[in-house]
Amino acid sequence: MAFAGRVALVLALAVCAYGITAALYGGRKGRRDWVDSGRRSVYCLAAILTVAMVILEIAFIRNDFSYNTVANTSSTTTPLLYRAAAMWSSQEGSLLLWVWLLSVWASVATFITRNRLRDIVPYATSVLLGFGAFFTTLLVFFDSPFAQTHPAPVQGAGLDPLLRNPSMLIHPPMLYSGYTFFTIPFAFAVGALVVRRVDADWIRVTRRFALASWLFLGIGIVLGARWSYYELGWGGYWGWDPVENAALMPWLISTAFLHSVMIQEKRGMLKIWNASLVLAASTLAIVGTFLVRSGVLNSIHAFGASTLGIPFVALIAAMTGGSIYLVVSRREVLRSEHALDSLFSREAAFLLNNVVLVGLCFVVFWGTFFPLISKAVTGTSAAVGPPWFDRYTVPLALILVLLSGIGPAIAWRRATLANARRNFRLPLAAAALMVVAAYTVVPISSSIGVVALFSAAAFVCASVSQEFWRGWRARRATSNDSPPVALASMVRRNRRRYGGYIVHIGIAVLFVGVAASSTFQHEQTLSLRVGQSTRVGAYTMKYMRATGSVVTDPNHTGATMTLGAVLRVTRGGHYVGTLRPGAGYYPAAQIVPGLVVASLISGDAVDQIGLQSSWRRDLWAAIKPLGATLPANGTQLPEERLVNLADGTISPKLPATQQLQTAFVELGLIVAHYVKFPPAASFTLIASPLVMWIWIGGLIVFLGGLTAIWPAPSALRSRLRARYLARVAQELGRA
């Protein structure tokens, strides 16, 4: 079966090569049948890769350890759902997932454009198949997921427990969907520039795809931050780590594109900007994919040097060089139709928006690649830390939030003092009110940055609400709809506009959460004995008692032993909540005969965060029951911490199953002893305000994006068409 998988990959590569040739030939010669054959290659690619994915997934589910990738990342003790997800935890598996997603999205794009953009489609198809060819080449010649070892090992290495949580299931496919989706606007941008056609039709198609990429990538970023906060033991959600930045950069650039393309649509301006932005966003997406797996930068993700560094660098160089060439050689087509009338106009605000977003991206890019840059310049590799990033991104982010409130309200072409008064009176009042509140009611006045952000957020919410109100009022004036129907139909008739406004509110809310939680957080790491308590901000946390269990892990993730604590949280003497942090101990890869108990718990440990979230604040706790050190390689037996028992009571001469049974009984005794006589445990305790607003803001952004991307119902369209047809025909008759 693995052979069939290998054949499928070779076939996929052949189909890509054929498709590129057919599409290009058909495009140059004007032969529809060849172009169609090229387009069908995209569908074939998706079909073939689906077969390959299915073969690989079946191998994972069936625990076929003859496949190297299954043996390296899965085991019989890994739960079914995580076995299926283990497929993309390795390089070869993740590459297959990447190219499969690419083929699926490319098929969708090919289907959607089956009757449009006929001159662009041949080139767009070739570009998409070109990406397919690149990745299938890697899979066929460099790192095959179907490599096998015979005889097959009996047991696999197992999925690392840190990856055994629901976010791990979603995070890579979601991020990859975002990254791969960027190839589509790239392909259509290249195609359009090649045939020198950058018109309304191209804008419509490209923008939809760019919006989908933006949405997927945004969800991936927020989910990644959430995973970091809920699963990793440091209590943060963003560390300016290279892999986080790698996803952020294309997202920033595509945000700029989505806004800037509106100006091109309305006024035929900023065409060079837009072509450059969409090409840059996609190139950065490939850079992001490369960063995560290359080992080139010091990051939480990079692990060892990969042999794929050079092909990826070549691809990125080709994309960058090709993009620059196309934009420069087609600059005549990209001439602006109009000029900027005034610096106080919507056009200018959008232009400033572009500049700020590109600036932000530059800061992130510079900081991320600085180790390489400094190595090239000074010979020593040096790194900048989060404080450096924060210093430059925070003011830029503040300007961005302000712009997101100015943009919806400012007039086109030339904002006069009169309409500025009309449009900005309410938002400015809201901002001023927030500043007053900051110094009286809301306790944030100690940080001027937070006050500025909170008032900017108030500004945005007021501005957007004003837009909704005015649009709704206008709708009611021209139709007989009841109030709620008017609101719904108003949004439905202009999903992009109102979806975008909802996104602005979501971003403002998200930044409010980020600002408050990063500035006013209280954190402590200390060791506590049972009965001791400590102050974290305004809260008192008391270590009440220890907990422990064997095998029946409530999170069903396969931990052999879980040790935890019960913390009682009070504020000003009043009970606020209970936190139950824990640590799950997993078995080592191999059970060492004679050291069975230690082997059962000396694999990786995972934090089970004790968390209580509310609107106002999060209470977060992590515990290290056995101190920082974990027994590794059977060198330091955990029970030496708990009781003075050696593992020698289990004779290696006993049959394996009996050894295991006895070991579990011993482990049960050890855990019971731990619960009765708990040693001092190390705790990390955090009280952080408004964290929940970050996730709520993310959700609002998602809903706004979904609204914007939702296709208009065709029934509505034809009804409107009929009405407008009548009106236009009337005037035709009059003229």
Binding site: R31, D36, R40, A47, R413, T416
Partner: protein, 101 residues
């Protein structure tokens, strides 16, 4: 047994690919230039987006982002462009009655 399934699978994939992609070689499918139906579809979609623009323009005006004169000038221009598109569609209909989509 698995070897047989694998062989069948490979055969099926190969057959499918050959069938799907060999149309130009077999002389099937049109080798002609984009026909009138494509032109009509392009015009229809241009008409749809022109109407969106007219509506959007009106919304901008009603929510205070366009001055009276800017709105009226833009509205006139957009409607004129819409009329042109309708004329082009009419011309297409009279010269060769298009099949219903």
């Amino acid at each position: 047994m698995t070897a047989l399934i694998a062989a069948l699978l490979i055969g099926a994939l190969l057959g499918f690919v050959l069938w799907a992609l060999s149309a130009p070689f077999r002389g099937r499918g049109s080798a002609v230039q984009p026909g009138d139906s494509d032109v009509r579809r392009a015009l229809e979609s241009a008409k749809g987006s022109k109407y969106s623009e007219i509506r959007d323009n009106e919304t901008d005006y009603r929510t205070g982002k366009l001055s009276d004169e800017d709105y009226r000038a833009l509205d006139r221009q957009l409607r004129a462009e819409a009329v042109e598109i309708l004329r082009a569609i009419d011309e297409l209909d009279t010269s060769n009655p298009a099949p219903s989509d």
